[in-house]
């Protein structure tokens, strides 16, 4: 059982988390023309990298959504990034 560090709650067991998707995907601006290929790419294409990955995860109990960097082979957790921009 893995443990992930929620930026809000700290280290918690993996059952409390939900995988949301690979990080870095930008939703196409759908008010302009989006080709079928670009849309399909956005919906379905996954990098599925072997090794270091950046992924969006949700910690269900607190609903915090964050970026988790981890190694998809060794399962090592490499770090977390908050999505929220730091505000004064």
């Amino acid at each position: 059982m893995q443990q992930f560090p929620c930026p809000f709650c700290g280290l918690r067991n993996e059952q409390e988390f939900h995988f949301a998707g690979e990080a870095g995907k930008i939703r196409p601006d759908t008010t302009r023309k989006v080709s079928a290929a670009d849309w399909a790419d956005y919906l379905y294409t996954q990098k599925n990298t072997m090794g270091e990955v950046r992924e969006v995860w949700m910690h269900s109990p607190c609903a915090e959504i964050f970026i988790l960097r981890r190694d998809s082979v060794s399962m090592a957790v490499l770090g977390v990034e908050q999505l929220r921009k730091n505000k004064p």
């Binding site: 601006d29 759908t30 008010t31 959504i65 921009k85 505000k87």
Partner: protein, 929 residues
């Protein structure tokens, strides 16, 4: 008779005798015995039958390394199947039966299989039963296969406890290395847990029968245990570490005694020291499966731990330097021992049912027991679970731990350090992270591996009857990879998972192909290390706790009113009240009013400066034009354009909305909203709160709804309260929200109040409704009411392909200019298809019965019938007076008036396509009052 109990010695208590039976015969053992040691002490040789040929099987090993002695056990009213006799401790009154043997291990009817062995080589089942179809043969084969019998009784109270603990250092294995390591670490100030699967610590120490660091083994063990506990360490005997999982989690199964559920401990260890020891490898020779052929280390252990000498005339067949001291120990205990060098010729076991002797190089030796060891194999399973690598050690002729997983080290025999003194210093150093002193091994071994093309049958896997010939066949048919070899021959797939057979099996494959053993490699090691009950993983998560239902605040009122409570979308809700009569409740709602507990209906608040643009993006429908105080029906889509949820949204203020999603979708919709809020928006300008359970809801629906509302203490001007609006007011001095919105097609009010006011509200509504003929209705009546009006339930009347324009909601798709979730997905080639399935109603001919939900609408084509749609909802409609149905049908809206064929379970009926709105298509009832 061969084995017997010696007069003294061992960790047993000879004073305390225990009676038990095996295959119906009475025996006696003593306190501290395992079933296997007790049977050996009684001279019992045959303890089971092999899986495929039903060959007689004797005890081979002494602990988890035994593949043969597997029993169905009964004690009073507890029966457990497939218990290993070597690791199950004897209890007074136990009754044991060998599995896979009928009527007993001694006389087995299916033993006749053995005569036909040449017809059943590896892959026999795959090759023989594939035509015409495996399923024809499967039931018979399954009956013949399998091991023990599962009792039909559930064991009362059999439920595993589960605990989570943490420590600096977890030491796995309480032999000399583990004890030394745990003591060193504990005294260095680390929090230490030491586990061992035996009830006593000491591991393989006892069988050496020598002093250790100046004292007797038992004294040394006690001294170490005291020191560990004195330094704050924790000792966990009778506890098996059966798996190492991600991020240093080790799972432990703690034995609680026969018939009691073991306890699961999840240990999160900063570091792990693996001191799991080593086991003996069998020697592969002719008829090496004869009862009486045993592990050499096992025999020493039976002697040291249980005071049992396994034979009187003993031959030892081996290839390493540990044999002579072993033979000497057995001699001192009273055995007549002869040592044979296994590397100097081909041995053959003699005897038909049990062993009578051994033949080698033309010479014959009479013996009742043959102790065979082709060397020690470190127990590296947990190392591999953790992702550690293995190295092949030529000098030890064994795989030993290589590149270590993070935070894990191996010491002692598990690390290939077979000399005791070396093991102690290695464990002490590794436990505290100190450098390990260089040391010399005294262990000498002449490699001894299976020799192919021998004539007689030589067993590799004793339980599954995999012989050297089977490995040869697999190699010939190119099942050469170890993973293929395993699955083709079933090598190592028995209940012992190849603990004795894998090493010899892959060595045989290496020899056959002229490759080295490390080139052939090992199969994957997976948890659990030993079989554990499935209930161990489940723990308390069973019955109601497996998936706890959400409960209504008003449950007591429903129960008092005779509600039939059932699960609806994760909630325990009234299906109906009193005797099941859905028609009565439907007509009550249509003629007077129905009173419904609608509390599970979603109430998700969205607020903040960006709330309006946010919900406009989330919804398929345009929400930005929704006026404060108004309600709109709409869909949420997936990005693919598929209908994900439907419901109403109310605007409470410019920057404040309440989303009323389907009852069963509240969590998933909330998560989806949160996802869009935090990933793509400024989370400080939008706030989302699921308030579903803060606002229980009572719905009043029907022509008398307004009359009932007028009697409630709500201070609302009902004359100025049109359909699809809402009012914020007070009920009994508390906040109340009233929405005029309908899921039935009749005038409806949804009244939401705080939890502590809902009983008063319910009682008031019931009281006001009674003289008018109104009363409570359940979810079943609601399902009929909404279908009569053509209102869909997402997930029932829609599936993973339905888009809003299939349901008649096409305008936003064509007109909405702002971006919204799923927008582009609504304009793919697939979304634009002409032959999409669309929602329609179906009417059956006069006098016909209701259609089956799930029935197909079919059309004839060149190749026969094909489906053009499916019935999604079907009821006898009390309001219409005949059956109605909703369906998704290809080009449904173009087919109005067409009569279609309905196919269900080989029966064909007809139905006419109509509008899905059966009741009040103009909405007069909806807007009444």
């Amino acid at each position: 008779m061969s084995g017997f109990r010696i007069a003294k010695g061992g960790l047993i208590n000879r004073e305390q005798t225990l009676d038990f039976t095996f295959d119906g015969r009475k025996y006696q053992g003593v306190k501290g015995d395992t079933l296997a040691s007790a049977l050996l002490a009684n001279g019992v040789r045959i303890v089971g039958r092999s899986f495929k040929y039903h060959r007689p099987r004797g005890v081979w090993g002494v602990w988890f390394d035994d593949p043969n002695a597997i029993f169905d056990l009964t004690l009073k009213d507890v029966s457990l199947p497939n218990c290993p006799a070597t690791t199950t401790h004897l209890v007074e009154g136990m009754s044991a039966r060998a599995v896979n043997a009928y009527p007993s291990a001694q006389f087995d009817i299916k033993g006749v299989f053995d005569r036909f062995h040449r017809f059943m080589p590896a892959g026999f089942y795959y090759k023989t039963f594939k035509w015409p179809h495996w399923h024809l043969f499967e039931p018979v084969i399954r009956k013949m296969a399998g091991l023990g019998h599962l009792g039909s009784e559930i064991i009362e109270g059999y439920q595993s406890e589960q605990h989570n603990i943490r420590c600096d250092l977890l030491v796995i294995g309480g032999g000399p290395a583990g004890l030394a390591g745990a003591q060193a670490a504990a005294q260095a100030g680390q929090s230490v847990i030491l586990v061992d699967d035996h009830p006593e610590f000491g591991g393989g120490l006892y069988r050496r029968s020598k002093d250790i660091e100046g004292v007797k083994p038992a004294q040394w063990v006690a001294r170490q245990c005291r020191a560990i506990e004195a330094a704050g360490g924790r000792l966990m005997p009778a506890t098996t570490a059966f798996g190492v999982y991600d991020h240093n989690m080790v799972a432990l199964a703690q034995d609680k005694g026969f018939g009691l559920a073991p306890t699961l401990w999840r240990v999160r260890a900063k570091r792990i020291l693996m001191a799991t020891g080593a086991t003996d490898r069998p020697v592969t020779f002719a008829n090496n499966d004869r009862p009486g052929v045993m592990s050499l280390d096992g025999a020493l252990e039976y002697l040291a731990r249980y005071g049992v000498l396994v034979g009187r005339k003993i031959a030892v067949l081996s290839n390493n330097s540990f044999v002579e001291p072993a033979a000497e120990i057995l001699r001192r205990a009273g055995g007549e021992v002869r040592v044979l060098d296994a590397t100097q010729g081909q041995a053959k076991a003699l005897g038909n049912k049990v062993l009578h002797g051994v033949e080698m190089n033309g010479q014959r030796f009479d013996c009742d027991t043959l102790l065979a060891s082709s060397g020690l194999t470190p127990v590296v399973h947990l190392w591999r679970h953790a992702g550690g690598k293995l190295d092949w050690d030529e000098n030890l002729a064994a795989f030993i731990p290589g590149k270590a997983p993070d935070n894990m080290r191996a010491a002692g025999a598990a690390n290939g350090t077979f000399d005791l003194d070396n093991a102690l210093s290695e464990a002490r150093a590794k436990a505290i992270g100190a450098p390990v002193p260089k040391q010399k091994s005294t262990y000498r071994i002449t490699p001894l591996w299976p020799k192919p093309d021998a004539k007689a049958r030589q067993w590799i896997d004793f339980q599954h009857d995999v012989t050297l010939k089977d490995i040869e066949l697999a190699a010939r048919e190119n099942y050469a990879s170890v993973e293929h070899l395993k699955r083709y021959t079933t090598l190592g797939m028995a209940s012992d998972q190849g603990k004795t057979s894998n090493m010899t099996g892959l060595a045989a494959m290496a020899a056959l192909q002229g490759r080295s053993i490390p080139e052939v490699g090992t199969t994957t090691f997976r948890p659990p290390f030993v079989p554990v009950p499935i209930g161990l993983y489940g723990g308390a998560r069973r019955g109601q706790l497996f998936n706890p239902l959400k409960r209504l605040v008003l449950e007591d009122r429903h129960r008092a009113a005779g509600a039939a409570l059932g699960e609806y979308g994760g909630w325990l809700r009234p299906g109906w009240y009193g005797a099941r009569d859905i028609t009565r409740e439907v007509l009550r709602a249509r003629n007077a009013a129905g009173i419904l507990d609608a509390s599970p209906l979603g109430k998700i608040e969205v607020m903040g400066p960006d709330a309006a643009s946010f919900v406009n993006f989330i919804y398929y429908n345009t929400i930005s034009t929704l006026k404060t105080g108004c309600i709109r029906y709409g869909f949420m889509l997936t990005e693919g354009g598929i209908v994900y949820d439907d419901g109403v949204i109310a605007r409470l203020a410019d920057n404040h909305f309440v989303i009323s999603c389907s009852s069963s979708h509240v969590e998933s919709v909330t998560a989806a909203l949160e996802s869009w809020r935090q990933d793509g928006n400024d989370p400080d300008r939008i706030f989302i709160h699921d308030c579903t359970q803060n606002w229980p809801t009572v719905t009043v629906t029907g022509p008398k709804a307004r009359e009932i509302m007028a009697q409630l203490d709500l201070s609302i001007d009902l004359a100025d309260f049109p359909h699809m609006t809402w009012r914020e007011t007070r009920f009994k001095q508390a906040a109340a929200r009233v929405a005029r919105v309908s899921f039935t097609g009749d005038t409806s009010y949804e009244i939401s109040v705080p939890v502590d006011k809902v009983h008063a509200l319910w009682d008031a509504v019931i009281l006001a409704g009674k003289p008018l003929g109104a009363g409570p209705i359940g979810v079943e009546a609601l399902s009929v009411l909404r279908a009569e009006k053509g209102y869909i339930i997402v997930g029932k009347d829609t599936d993973g392909e339905v888009m809003p324009h299939d349901l008649g909601f096409a305008i936003p798709r064509a007109k909405k200019t702002a971006a919204f979730v799923g927008d582009r997905g609504l304009h793919t080639d697939n979304a634009n298809r002409e032959d999409r399935r669309q929602l329609v109603g179906l009417r059956v001919p006069d006098g016909a019965v209701a259609l089956a939900t799930g029935a197909h609408l079919v059309e004839k084509s060149a190749s026969g019938l094909h489906s053009i749609g499916v019935v999604t909802s079907s009821y006898n409609s009390p309001s219409i007076g005949q059956p109605i149905a909703l369906a998704l049908v290809e080009k449904g809206t173009e087919r109005m008036g067409e009569t279609l064929t309905i196919w269900h379970m080989d029966q064909q009926n007809t139905a006419t396509v109509v509008s899905p709105v059966f009741l009040d298509p103009k909405g007069a009832r909806l807007n009444a009052g």
